[in-house]
């Protein structure tokens, strides 16, 4: 259970039959990606049809929750008015480990905005938004002993 980073006024998801699995896994603190069971292509956001082979058959592949920052931005103007007092905040696109190239949009938390860098290793930090909703954000992954992080 981790701290709230964004206020209650943020928009809430309205899941449909094809996307509810992603949100249910998240509520359980499981980071998953939708995988086509016909051709094994992974996709995000979740949807009803595989964009590669058009199969409607899919499952949810559970991921380790780690990845690397593919790109980022440090938001310094409140385009979303309810986030005015959370500025500056960091939006990242994370290339998730084990997901065959899938990149999800999230936030870097528990770090100074100036710390963010492309290729930085991150790990999921769950934020409980309510009894049925948790949201994955990411923190800097601890450096394994003997391995030097790139600056």
């Amino acid at each position: 259970m981790t701290a709230r980073w964004f206020p209650d006024e943020m928009p809430m998801p309205a899941a449909n039959a094809h996307t509810v699995g992603w949100w249910e896994a998240a509520a359980d603190h499981r980071l998953v990606v939708q995988r086509c069971t016909q051709c094994a292509h992974t996709r995000h956001p979740p949807g009803p049809v595989c964009p590669r082979c058009r199969s409607t058959a899919s499952d949810w592949l559970e991921l380790p929750g780690t990845g690397r920052v593919y790109t980022y931005t440090i938001v310094r103007q409140a385009f979303i008015p309810s986030l005015q007092d959370r500025l500056p905040y960091v939006v990242i696109a994370v290339e998730l480990d084990g997901a065959d190239g899938v990149r999800i949009v999230s936030n870097l938390v528990d770090a100074e905005p100036g710390d963010v860098a492309v290729d930085m290793a991150v790990e999921v930090a769950w934020e409980d938004m309510g009894p049925e909703l948790a949201v994955p954000r990411f923190r800097v992954a601890p450096v394994a002993s003997g391995r030097k992080e790139r600056p």
Partner: protein, 380 residues
Amino acid sequence: MIAGVATSDYPHLPNMSEHAVHGQAADRALADAGLTFADIDGFATTGFFPMYATGVAEYLGLHPIYFDETNSGGSSFEVLVEHAAYAVESGAVDVVLVTYGSVQLSQMGRRLGTGGGGGGFAPGPAIYDALWGNTLVGNYAMATRRHMYEFGTTPEQLAAVAVTMRRHAATNPQAQERELITVDDVVSSRLVADPLHKLDCCVISDGGGACVVTTEERAADLPGTPVYVLGAAHATTHHLNLSAMPNLTVTPAAQCGPVAFARAGITHADVDVAQLYDSFTITVVLTVEDLGFCAKGEGGAFVEDGGLEVGGRLPTNTDGGGLSACHPGMRGMFLIVEAVRQLRDEGGATQVPDARIAVAHGTGGMLSTGATLVLGLDAP
């Protein structure tokens, strides 16, 4: 062919409704073409809610046998003109009026505290960005950061685009921002979404424009200088989620640009002047690469040191673009109007000498749609 073009007044229209802007632009474009509303049998426009074109047609008193409302964001008007060109060629319609109008700047002041994205419902896949505080500017910023990471593009190179746009705007009496700026001014302006500074972002304006598309036969009877649509194409890579963008450094221009050029039978060396969607400085850098004026990753070098200025490698956005002249929300129509004016030698202080072939390219959504028009003075 495009037989008439016009812009409405811009950039600040506090006493006009959105429909009135369409109407003003339409009146002027028809006058420019030497036509009246009685000559119009086709109509196209697009806006932000369904049946938008029908609403504007009603306001203009039109009952067209052809209408189009294709909305692909910033590339919409290039698509609408392409469709109109095919329609008149097919004989399905004779004269298509295409209009655009927006009073988004004036409306912002009237809707205090009700800006979009502040809470409530984010429809469909928008939630995968909205819940993490990501917005359109954030997506363009992230694409910029990736381009910097992969190719070493610098803030100063991006700034060069803004400097050139401002230089062109300085001699446009209608432009929203006309005071000359330096690279240093741009990179010292406040960051809105790092690495994009305020001056890397387009202005927010009221304004509109219109053009008239008709057959070569019909255009021959008209008083002005019509312009050929030599070739056109459009493409989409994804919708709005960055997760669905196949490659953050490649836009749909990479797909539709070469097709449009091939259809027009032109090479890059043939292009005298370009009007390229400049929602942000990065949009132009990506577009010159994807249209093939330079290799992927070399856009930064291409745009710096006056590369986009009249007299430079590729004279671009001779009215000052969205970065300085106006950006009422979807400025694709302005690209078309300015391209036609350049070909007709009406470019004024920023006229490219002997311009005979122009490219207008719109980019929409989150770098998700693109549409290219190749326009020329000479018959194909």
